[in-house]
Structures are given as structure tokens and as C-alpha cells.
């Protein structure tokens, strides 16, 4: 039985009751309704999740409660009844209050507080953590400075600051993302509010940090019996956190109910489609994601098949063996403190540390790791966008294995045709001042391929290949959605018939439904064109969907590499295991073990067992534990020690 059920029986009146809420935005030439008649309620101590894609109006609902909507937005109808358990008065309709009403100022931060998505921008960079966290306390409870400080340090300790007194004095940019979000949570909880609104509280965080933050929220919610309104797009987070779920789409509630009803018996087609669009770990071999607004997937499949021959990389008689071999790759970044007098101190950061892997022909290798683990640096080194400090990268060509890092001049130019990249952010990876026509013809111009007529024909075929219409050629990137832009980015990458494709987080900036479309497209293209690919992602489920083998990176080192079946069934390295255990599944039978995550986090190398650390007389080495399954460990260790 969940904590919310108990409370529901105890208190008949809900803490917050939203009825027929309508919010309109004034935009040039009219009004747009972002929220169209939404109703739901939250009981004291209950966790309610509002789920939806971007633009569904879920954040607007949250802002309406605190009445902190942007100036061009207006609540046009409905009511938000807040029944403060601390006083016995009647419920207050927050919508009816004047925007300058003193009660609203006391409510905000005092009775209902908020946790934001992006902890870096949600905190002022110019004020210390302590100053910002205790602000609500100073505003709502009359406290002396000394009292406020001791209470602030207490709450910082509670949210897991290792040294609260020091944390109080620090500035946000001095903290890691996880600690920053902990500070934001401390800020929300310091006045012991009746309800916390958490707007995508873990979306900007790495998966292991996300699990910890979710655990922290859950723990504090139980401790203080605070209600949480959780706004998220991630059904995995919902399954692990919520008692009740409200699914919104285009400002309307599609389906609402207990978390059991939602996950065990989804009724509304939108919800069913949403669940089907998320990659999960139990997918059958060859099973496709069902995109939310699928535009006849079979048709596009046929198009790809038809055009595949044209865009295949030119056949070469390649030697047998892997397509790409990366050996002992190392990249150091030196940052020198600028000084005109003397050399200045230089600081060395090892971004990629002795990384070796191979990718077979036509294979997709997934590269997984958290931010800062060095995965993008590896991609850039393979692309020759960065120069490696040492090590080798070699590509299988008709002349045998050729060392990419030694290429220069015309050979380097020729290599560039063979390897292409798909970028993470579809908004900044397309030049806003070039039309799609210009963007797609640029590769041909740079490499001086074909005549003008031939290029034009190729460009039209490219568009068809990625499922776009020819009439968009004269438009600029800003007139396309994120998914369409990513298609254009893919088309640009395919223009030169590459044989190796490096995908750097290609779907992490996209909504679930669009993500499914793009993943399906990439999968189809890869199979039809026989592309070898390196697929970088922080999302294990996505990697599981596209990749055949998976490599895990941590702090610049490649700690484990195996086929995806081996990796998921039998992870060896403590980091891999903590990564896998931190993924929130949209499945009520596989909930996160918050207790375990809290006490046995293995993100820090210090926590790993001795066999995984280098010792004075022995360094780290990739050790074979199974066919095709390698783990980074002390080279003196016994293989039996590595069995988990």
C-alpha cells in the first residue's frame, strides 16, 4: 500500500483541487489556449505526476497554481482551490486572488514551493547557496540571521551536502549538477511547505544522479508528509515516484488515475501510444518502436529500400576484420592560466584515457556514459575533429587498415567523405541563415562532387530518403520542428555516401514520439545502407534499441565492453552495475531500489573494489571475462574475482 492511500482516507478534502482550468496566451493576432479545461486534485502527502510531451501545457498548469505565469498568459476560467492543512479556514481559490494579494506572496515558497528543471539557471550565479536557500525562510518565518543560517545548514545536510557549512558559502557554479539540484530542493523544502511542485526535476541530470535525486525527493516527501506535483515527460520517473498520474496532451487531460491503473490498464489510445513509443529493455529482436504520430512507416521503409542502392557507400574490396580499430587512444587537454609574464601554470585534464575498441563492418557500437565521461571526445577524435595526444585510430579501406590520425591533405579530405556525424542539437547544428537547399548542397560543393544537375537530383532523393517533402528545399531551418531538423541533419550526413556514421546523442533533444521516429529511421537507414556506426547516448534504453554491442565509459576510461545481451544480463564492472540499477523503468514490477542506490553508489572510483583500481605495481587492463566481453580491471587480478 502506498503512502498516499493512507492519507486519502484520513483527509476527505484534497489539498489542492484544480477544476476546469483554462489558460490562454496572448500572441500576435489572437489567443492560444495552452490549457483547456484541466481538472484534477492532490491530497495531502500524495505524489501526483503530470505527464506529457513538450508543449502539452504541463508546466503552464504548475505556474498557474503559484500564479507566476508569464505576463502574456492569463487564466481565463476555472478554479484552483487550496486547502491549507495548517489552518481550518475554508479553501482559498487561488485564481480569484488579486495578483498583488499578500496571501499569494505568503503562499509562494511558504506553503507551496517549486523545484526547477535546470539547477544552473534556476539559481542566481551572483549569490551564495546559503543566501538563496534561506531566502524563503527569511521572507516567511521571522528568523534572526543566526537561526536562519543554522536551519539552512541543517536542511543542506538533510539533502546530502557533504559539508553544509562550506556549501552555505559556495556559489552555484562551484557545485556539481547533482549538488546544485539538491540545493534547489533544499530551497523548496526549507519552510516545510504543504506541497512542492517539481517541474522536470531530474531531466537535466545524469542517470545515476537522477536516481539519487528521485530517492531524495521520495525520502523527504515521506519524512515531512509533503505533497508533490511532479511534472515530467519521463514515464520511468512516473512509475517510480507517483501515486496518481494525470496524462495531458495539447492542454487536455487524456487519462487520469492511480499509477496502477495507468501502467497496468492504460485505456486512452494516446497513453497506449506514448507507452509504445518508449524503447525498453524487453524488446524482441527486430521489434519496432511505434511512433506516436506515425506517418505510414511502411511507406517510408519502401522508399528507403528503393533508394538504398544509390546512397550505399561505394563497394571496395576490404580486408577481413573490423571496420574501425581504436587503440590506446588518449586525449589530454591543457589549460594554461593566461599570463604575459612567465609561462603560467598549466593544468592537464585527461579526457580520454587509454581507450581501445573495434567496430565490425555494418555493426552499431553504442557508447554509454555520463556527462563528462569523454564519449563525445572519443567521437571527435575518430572524426579527426580533434587531434589525439597518443594512440591510433585506423579505418579499413581498400588499401588495408589506414591510420586515420596520420592522414593529411587530399587523403584527409577523402577520409572526411567516409565518416560523417549526426549531432545532438538539431537547432544549433543547422546554420539558420542557409536554406535547406544550401545546407544539403554544401557537402557536394566542398568535395566538388557531380554537376549542378546531378547534385539537385541527389538532394531530392536525399530528402525522400529521410521522409521529407521536396517543397521544403527553399525554407530555412527555423520553420521546421526538432524532428524534421534532425531528419535534415541526417540527410546532410548521408549526402556523401559515408560508410561510418558517428551519432552523438541524436535523439536526446527530442520528444518521446519524435525520438521513436528518428530512431526507427536511423535503424532502417543503417540496415539498408549497410552503415557502420558509433552511437553515443546517455540513455541505456535507446542504446539497447539501436546497438549490437555496448561500451561503457567512465571518467575517460572505457570500463566495460560487451554485446548488449551480455552487458544487460551480466554486468561486471561496479560502474556499469550502478548505471544499470539507476535507470528508471516505466514498469511497476521493476522499481528502483532507492535504499540501495543511496548507499552503494559507485560513481566514484574510490568506491570500486580493489580489483577495479590500479595499484602501485600494476595498472589497469582490459580483461576478457567471456567471449567478446571485456572489463577494465587491475592486470594482476584473478578472473574469478571479477564475477559479480
Amino acid at each position: 500500500m502506498r503512502s498516499g492511500d493512507v492519507n486519502r482516507e484520513m483527509s476527505a478534502t484534497p489539498l489542492l483541487k484544480i477544476e476546469n482550468l483554462e489558460v490562454s496566451f496572448e500572441i500576435q493576432g489572437g489567443h492560444v489556449y495552452a490549457v483547456k479545461g484541466v481538472s484534477f486534485s492532490i491530497n495531502p502527502g500524495e505524489v501526483v505526476a503530470v505527464v506529457g510531451e513538450s508543449g502539452s501545457g504541463k508546466s503552464v498548469i504548475a505556474q498557474s497554481i503559484l500564479r507566476i505565469l508569464p505576463r502574456n498568459a492569463d487564466i481565463t476560467a476555472g478554479s484552483i482551490l487550496f486547502n491549507d492543512p495548517n489552518d481550518n479556514n475554508e479553501a482559498i481559490d487561488l485564481v480569484r486572488l488579486n495578483s498583488k494579494d499578500q496571501y499569494l506572496y505568503e503562499l509562494r515558497g511558504g506553503r507551496i514551493s517549486m523545484v526547477f528543471q535546470e539547477p544552473m539557471t534556476a539559481l542566481s550565479p551572483l549569490h551564495t547557496i546559503g543566501n538563496q536557500v534561506q531566502e524563503a525562510l527569511v521572507l516567511h518565518r521571522e528568523k534572526t540571521d543566526a537561526q536562519a543560517r543554522s536551519e539552512t545548514e541543517e536542511i543542506l545536510r538533510l539533502v546530502g551536502f557533504p559539508n553544509p557549512a562550506r556549501g552555505y558559502e559556495m556559489y552555484p557554479f562551484e557545485l556539481s549538477g547533482g549538488l546544485r539540484q539538491r540545493a534547489v530542493i533544499a530551497m523548496a523544502l526549507i519552510c516545510n511547505p504543504a506541497m512542492v511542485i517539481a517541474d522536470e526535476p531530474t531531466t537535466a541530470l545524469d542517470v545515476t544522479v537522477q536516481a539519487q535525486i528521485l530517492g531524495l525527493l521520495k525520502e523527504l516527501q515521506k519524512k515531512f508528509n509533503t505533497a508533490i506535483l511532479m511534472i515530467t515527460h519521463d514515464l520511468g520517473v512516473v512509475a517510480n515516484m507517483a501515486d496518481k498520474v494525470v496524462v495531458v496532451y495539447h492542454g487536455e487531460v487524456m487519462e487520469a488515475g492511480s499509477v496502477h491503473d495507468i501502467f497496468r490498464r492504460p485505456r486512452h489510445p494516446y497513453l497506449k501510444a506514448l507507452i509504445a513509443a518508449i524503447p525498453h529493455f524487453e524488446m524482441e529482436e527486430g521489434e519496432r518502436l511505434v511512433s506516436l504520430r506515425s506517418n505510414d512507416a511502411d511507406q517510408s521503409n519502401k522508399t528507403i529500400h528503393k533508394l538504398a542502392a544509390k546512397f550505399k557507400a561505394p563497394d571496395e574490396s576490404k580486408t577481413k576484420g573490423p571496420h574501425l580499430i581504436v587503440k590506446n587512444l588518449r586525449k589530454e587537454f591543457t589549460s594554461t592560466k593566461g599570463s604575459w609574464f612567465g609561462a603560467g601554470e598549466s593544468k592537464k585534464t585527461i579526457a580520454v584515457d587509454n581507450v581501445s575498441f573495434e567496430i565490425n563492418q555494418g555493426e552499431c557500437l553504442g557508447l554509454v556514459g555520463e556527462s563528462g565521461s569523454g564519449k563525445t571526445t572519443v567521437a571527435k577524435l575518430v572524426m579527426r575533429a580533434l587531434e589525439a595526444t597518443s594512440g591510433s585510430v585506423s579505418l579499413n579501406t581498400s588499401n588495408g587498415m589506414s591510420d586515420i590520425l596520420a592522414l593529411s591533405g587530399p587523403q584527409l579530405m577523402e577520409f572526411r567523405r567516409r565518416v560523417q556525424m549526426i549531432f545532438q542539437d538539431p537547432f544549433s547544428s543547422l546554420n539558420p541563415r542557409m536554406t535547406i537547399q544550401n545546407i544539403l548542397s554544401e557537402p557536394y560543393i566542398i568535395h566538388n562532387v557531380g554537376t549542378a544537375q546531378k547534385r539537385q537530383a541527389d538532394i531530392l532523393d536525399l530528402l525522400q530518403l529521410v521522409g521529407m517533402e521536396p517543397h521544403c528545399l527553399n525554407r530555412y531551418p527555423h520553420s521546421f520542428s526538432g524532428g524534421q531538423r534532425q531528419r535534415i541533419g541526417i540527410a546532410r550526413a548521408l549526402a556523401l555516401h559515408p560508410e561510418l556514421m558517428v551519432c552523438d546523442e541524436p535523439v536526446s533533444a527530442l520528444d518521446v514520439s519524435v525520438q521513436a521516429q528518428i530512431l526507427n529511421l536511423l535503424n532502417d537507414l543503417r540496415k539498408e545502407l549497410g552503415l557502420t556506426s558509433l552511437f553515443i547516448s546517455h540513455n541505456l534504453a535507446v542504446v539497447n534499441y539501436v546497438a549490437e554491442r555496448i561500451a561503457v565509459m567512465c571518467q575517460g576510461k572505457l570500463v566495460e565492453i560487451a554485446s548488449k545481451e551480455q552487458l544487460f544480463a551480466n554486468p561486471h564492472h561496479p560502474y556499469t552495475r550502478s548505471l544499470l540499477s539507476a535507470v528508471p523503468y516505466p514498469d511497476l514490477d521493476r522499481l528502483l531500489d532507492f535504499e540501495n542506490i543511496k548507499y552503494s553508489s559507485s560513481m566514484e572510483a574510490d568506491d570500486w573494489g580493489d580489483v577495479y583500481k590500479s595499484s602501485q605495481d600494476a595498472g589497469l587492463e582490459s580483461i576478457k571475462v567471456d567471449e567478446g566481453h571485456f572489463v577494465l580491471a587491475n592486470c594482476n587480478c584473478n578472473i574469478s574475482e571479477l564475477r559479480p
Binding site: G110, V184, S335
Partner: protein
């Protein structure tokens, strides 16, 4: 922090040496020298000059020496406060400038204060009430101020002041006080005259300042930390002052560096129209008549003030913005 300031002061030395070389080259660049333009002027007036006298003066002032020697003499002189000799005024440069510097600083000081007092409240209002009638109206007035030529405004103001308040035309004091020692009457007279140049010079600066305060504050108002402050129950005005306004001040502090040199060289044309006893008109005249030491010293002073100004803004920025102070993992 201390080592940072020390380093910054050390950087100033090569900068200033380079500036002095550039200044000297610049004032040497035009063909001829002061004496040549002096002779031309006299000839144009129909008078004759004794070439021997000119030749004598040239040797006297060291114009026959090689350029680097003259540079060294000038540059080392400046180190001990000797800025050379003004041919036109037949006085040491120090004495020519010294008198007027006082009035210049008074005018500029009041102008800057005037600009801030007007620009900040209006800029904040415009930003927080973006696209309202108030914003449009104030912006319109501000742009009018920016678009009106200063000398025209100066003439109009001078006329109005004379017509309605009986203030004497031109200058910073009534004629009776010129050359007099400072007294209460002179002080009142200065204040009576001061408001015209302050308003005239201030209007254009104010308009530009309003636009910049507005633009910078608008950028900050869209940041999520503003929503955070609102969600904490921060009263609107206090929140505005504590977070976005303080953030938007960075541009303004960085600007102080640019303000210092305008103390002695801003608003020359207005000063000429209003016949203010400030340094601006002297600089223009010195450049016209190739009075090289006077002009050179002026330019050097401008360079020096710029460098000092930038130093002050850098230090102030480092104090106010922890990101600058603690960058690069500096321990504290």
C-alpha cells in the same frame, strides 16, 4: 585578489609606453610643425615674419633634433609632471590645462550623476513594463533626446535661460567672477550656469543609457532564476533589485572604464557653443594649430584615464561577480 590587482597594474606599464609612442607618432605625422602653421597664418593675415626668428625658435625648442630624442625628452618629462610647452599660449602645458580641468570635472561629474538619476529609473520602468504605453512614451522621448543635435539644444537652452532667468549667455560663471578667487557668490553663479550644459550634454547620454539599461534588464528578466525568486514569494520590487537588476549591472560597471576619458574630452562642440571654460575646446584648437605638446599631452592624458578606468571596472567587476573572481578554480 591582491596578486590579480598587482598584475593588472603591471600590465598598464607596457600599455602606456605603447600609447605614448603612438601618440607621438600621430602628432608628428601631419606635415610641418607649429611654426610652419604659425608662419602660414601670419602670411595669410598679410604680415611678414623673419625666417631667422623662426629658425631660432626651432632650435630653441629642439625641433632640429632627431625624432626619437624629442620623444624621449617628452616621455621622460611626463614622468616628473612636465608635459612640455604650449607654443600657442606661451605657457607650460600644465598651466594651460590645470585651470580648466577643475571646471571640466565639475561639469562632467554633474552630467554623469544627472544621466544615472534619470536613466536608471526610466530604464527599469521600461524593462518591467515592456511594450506598454509608458515604455513606448519614454522610449520616444529618449530617442528625441538622442536625435536632437546637442549644439542646437544648447542654443535653445541658452536663449531660454537668458530670457526667463536672466542668466548671462555662455561661460560657467558670470563675467564679474572671472579671474576672481572662489567665493560663495561665485559658487552660486557656477550652479546657475551649470544646469544648461549638464542637461544639454546629459540628454543624449541619458537616452542611450535608458536603452541599454532596458535591453540588459530585459535579457535578465527572462532568466529562470527570476521565476525562482517569484516562486519563493519574493516581493516583486525587492526581487527585481536583488537578482535581475544586480546581474544587469555588469555592463554598466564595465562601462566605467569608458567614462573616465570623457571627463576631459567629451562634448567639445557643446563647450564651444556655450563657451565653457572646459578642456574640450582647447584640445580641438591644439590639434588645429599643431600645438604638439599640448595636443600630445591631452591624448596621453586620455590614454592614461582609459587605462585607469578599465582597471577600476575590472576590479569592481571582480568584486561584484564571483564568477570572475573565482574563475579557473582559484582557491579562496
Amino acid at each position: 585578489m591582491f596578486s590579480y590587482i598587482l598584475k593588472r597594474i603591471l600590465y598598464m606599464v607596457p600599455t602606456l609606453i605603447l600609447t605614448s609612442i603612438l601618440v607621438f607618432i600621430l602628432i608628428e605625422l601631419p606635415p610641418g610643425d607649429y611654426f610652419e602653421s604659425y608662419v602660414n597664418e601670419l602670411r595669410a593675415a598679410g604680415e611678414t615674419v623673419d625666417p631667422k626668428l623662426i629658425e631660432y625658435l626651432r632650435t630653441e625648442y629642439g625641433f632640429d633634433k632627431p625624432i626619437w630624442e624629442r620623444y624621449l625628452q617628452w616621455a621622460t618629462g611626463m614622468l616628473v609632471g612636465d608635459f612640455g610647452y604650449s607654443f600657442e599660449y606661451e605657457l607650460p602645458v600644465n598651466e594651460v590645462i590645470g585651470d580648466r580641468l577643475f571646471f571640466t570635472i565639475i561639469v562632467t561629474f554633474f552630467t554623469i550623476i544627472f544621466t544615472w538619476i534619470i536613466a536608471f529609473p526610466i530604464g527599469i520602468y521600461s524593462a518591467t513594463h515592456q511594450y506598454s504605453w509608458g515604455d513606448y512614451g519614454l522610449t520616444f522621448i529618449g530617442l528625441l533626446g538622442l536625435a536632437t543635435p546637442n549644439f542646437l539644444l544648447a542654443l535653445i537652452m541658452m536663449f531660454l535661460a537668458n530670457e526667463y532667468f536672466g542668466t548671462t549667455i555662455g561661460g560657467l560663471v558670470d563675467p564679474q567672477y572671472i579671474g576672481e578667487p572662489f567665493s560663495w557668490g561665485k559658487f552660486v553663479s557656477v550652479l546657475e550656469h551649470l544646469w544648461i550644459p549638464v542637461i544639454v550634454i546629459g540628454t543624449s547620454g541619458t537616452a542611450a543609457m535608458i536603452r541599454r539599461v532596458r535591453a540588459n534588464l530585459l535579457d535578465e528578466l527572462r532568466k529562470p532564476y527570476v521565476t525562482t525568486a517569484r516562486a519563493k514569494g519574493m516581493p516583486e520590487f525587492r526581487g527585481l533589485m536583488k537578482y535581475p537588476f544586480r546581474m544587469s549591472l555588469n555592463f554598466f560597471i564595465a562601462d566605467i572604464g569608458g567614462l573616465l576619458p570623457t571627463i576631459i574630452s567629451g562634448a567639445e562642440i557643446v563647450a564651444i557653443v556655450l563657451s565653457l571654460e572646459t578642456t574640450g575646446p582647447i584640445l580641438i584648437q591644439a590639434l588645429q594649430s599643431q600645438d604638439m605638446y599640448l595636443a600630445g599631452s591631452f591624448l596621453m592624458l586620455l590614454g592614461f584615464l582609459t587605462v585607469i578606468g578599465v582597471l577600476i571596472s575590472d576590479i569592481a567587476l571582480a568584486f561584484l561577480d564571483p564568477r570572475i573572481r573565482l574563475q579557473g578554480g582559484v582557491s579562496r
